[in-house]
């Protein structure tokens, strides 16, 4: 992250955040090749969106999105409900046409890449045929891809080998989600696009699914997923694209996103705390006081702590916490994740 500019005296909390976001917005819309996030590129991008907009009547679902996903990356698309995540993914898949702008997948128009069997998708809402066996369904979808692996591999990846002979109509919700994942990877495609892939799965199921996805990205496959579970983005994504109001408000690694919001948080208990005074401590970007509980968001926790102990004799219960993704999400989108 950029070094923090010198203190400029007290100001309102929102102010600084806006300017930070704006800086990142610029980054989001004009990709800088020198940016540390853009590592691990192979020839050509897995996914490219250029100035993509989409409107539904008077509603702007996407207001000019630029996005490059390099091959081998695992990218999480996050955002509050209605931020445009599903619209973005459906344009990236060629299921919907953008109002303006272009989308390319693996160097060609998305619909073409899909038809050529280069992409595997787990859509957010989709049905399955009820009157066929799980194995039959997976085999039929695998057979649509060029040179597919044996369907048993997808069944194993989804942890449903033992359900192969069960009719789809008799599966539970979680089992159905596993079938949908098996369909997504049935053709062992180069790009995986997953919209809320772990909905309805138990903890073990989630872990297994992510293990499979990571195995594939480890082999050079690319994964783009939308999720509501911030911990999943935190644990499994190399990079997070944060959408709000149809725009990319932040784009970077998990660590970058967290530091964007203010690195660390110093928490302490202080009698008669004066927020305006605390704001003047070195490194502090944002102060919140609730009764005696004080939270100082700081870019330089060492300097903040030193000054805190020097200036306030009665300070106690001092702790440092890293900013979690949840706070980053809330600060950057202005909304709660759920």
């Amino acid at each position: 992250m950029k070094p923090r500019p010198a203190r400029r005296g007290p100001r309102r909390a929102g102010e600084r955040m806006t300017s930070v976001i704006r800086a990142r917005l610029t980054y989001g819309t004009t990709p800088a090749p020198t940016c540390p996030v853009r590592l691990g590129r192979m020839k050509g991008n897995a996914l490219e969106l250029r100035a993509v907009t989409k409107t539904y009547g008077p509603i702007t679902a996407l207001g000019g999105v630029d996005l490059d996903v390099g091959r081998g990356e695992t990218v999480a698309v996050l955002g509050p409900n209605g931020a445009g995540k599903s619209t973005l993914l459906s344009i990236a898949l060629g299921l919907r046409a953008p109002a303006s702008g272009t989308a390319r997948v693996l160097g060609r128009p998305p619909a073409e890449a899909l038809r050529a069997g280069r992409v595997g998708v787990l859509p957010q809402e989709s049905g399955l045929l009820e009157d066929v066996r799980v194995g039959e369904l997976v085999a039929a979808v695998a057979g649509m891809y060029p040179d597919p692996p044996p369907p048993e591999r997808a069944l194993r990846a989804a942890g449903i080998e033992e359900l192969a002979r069960r009719p789809v109509g008799r599966l539970s919700g979680g089992q159905r989600q596993r079938v949908r994942f098996a369909l997504c990877v049935a053709g062992d495609p180069e790009l995986l696009v997953l919209d809320e892939p772990t909905v309805g799965l138990d903890v073990e199921g989630r872990r297994a699914l992510w293990r499979e996805i990571r195995t594939r990205t480890g082999q050079g496959r690319t994964a783009v997923f939308a999720t509501h579970y911030l911990t999943e983005a935190d644990d499994y994504a190399d990079r997070i694209v944060l959408l709000a109001g149809g725009r990319v408000v932040a784009d970077g690694s998990v660590a970058e996103l967290k530091s964007l919001v203010g690195g660390d948080e110093v928490r302490c208990v202080l009698e008669h705390a004066d927020p305006a005074e605390l704001e003047l401590l070195p490194g502090v970007r944002h102060v919140s006081v609730e009764g005696r509980a004080v939270r100082l968001r700081t870019g330089d926790p060492d300097a903040t702590l030193r000054a805190l102990f020097r200036g306030y004799d009665d300070v106690k219960d001092v702790r440092i916490e890293g900013v979690d993704l949840e706070s980053a999400f809330v600060s950057l989108t202005g909304r709660r994740s759920r």
Binding site: L114, R115, V121, L128, A139, A140, V141, R180
Partner: protein, 240 residues
């Protein structure tokens, strides 16, 4: 594409509801008329057994063709088409697989009723006529397959099935598949002769006497097929 066609064929051939509706129902009606009820005077029984055999085989095949659309409507409303849209299967691949598997699954309803005619109701025809009957009845219900697809891409779920059931029965009755058009008043009969179901039936009825289809039959069927195909293509494009 081929793997999906295989799946559709498997589904079509082991679908118990379809089998009962489209094979055993016409078969039951046929046996009721020729073996149980006293519908026609003794001397005309042979003619009637052959005539209604064609009627019921056509009726069953027509249902099979129409209800291709019922399955489409159902799968559309259940979201299966949403899932297929993100596979490499091209959009026309689905409807093609449906039509091909539909074309195969109507065969049992034709063969079973013809078999009952030959084995149970004493219908005797020259050996060459039987395969001709199968082919003519099969080809005669083509317009209904197109109509079914149009329905399938217009309505969703059970509404489509209900609407198609009404159309199915109305067309069967008007087309003289249940009761011969000879029993209809003049106005209704004129209308019947313009209907696709009657012309589909008449292909088979004439074949019983060794006669080829009339030009009128072919023209009327071709016109309905074109019309329903245009409708189906329009609805299909709208639904994508």
């Amino acid at each position: 594409m081929r793997s999906y066609l295989r799946l559709e064929l498997v589904r079509g051939l082991r679908n118990p509801v379809g089998l009962v509706m489209l094979t055993f129902f016409p078969l039951g009606l046929y046996l009721l008329w020729t073996k149980v009820l006293d519908v026609v005077p003794r001397g005309q029984m042979d003619d009637f057994a052959a005539y209604s055999m064609v009627s019921m085989a056509t009726y069953g095949a027509m249902g099979g063709a129409l209800f291709i659309g019922g399955a489409i409507a159902m799968e559309r409303s259940k979201g299966w088409l949403g899932q297929l849209a993100v596979t490499p299967l091209p959009a026309h691949g689905y409807v093609t697989a449906k039509l091909v598997s539909g074309a195969v699954t109507v065969l049992p309803s034709i063969v079973v009723v013809l078999g009952a005619g030959a084995l149970l109701s004493g219908v005797r025809l020259p050996a060459g006529t039987w395969p001709v009957l199968v082919v003519l009845i099969w080809a005669g219900v083509l317009p209904f397959a197109a109509l079914g697809v149009a329905f399938g891409y217009t309505l969703k779920g059970q509404v489509a099935n209900l609407a198609m059931m009404i159309v199915y029965f109305a067309m069967s009755v008007l087309g003289g598949l249940w009761l011969p058009v000879q029993a209809m008043p003049a106005g209704m009969r004129a209308l019947a002769e313009l209907s696709p179901a009657y012309q589909a039936g008449s292909l088979g009825w004439r074949a019983l006497d060794g006669l080829p289809p009339t030009g009128t039959s072919l023209t009327v069927l071709a016109a309905w097929t074109l019309l329903f195909c245009a409708l189906a293509v329009w609805r299909y494009r709208r639904a994508l």
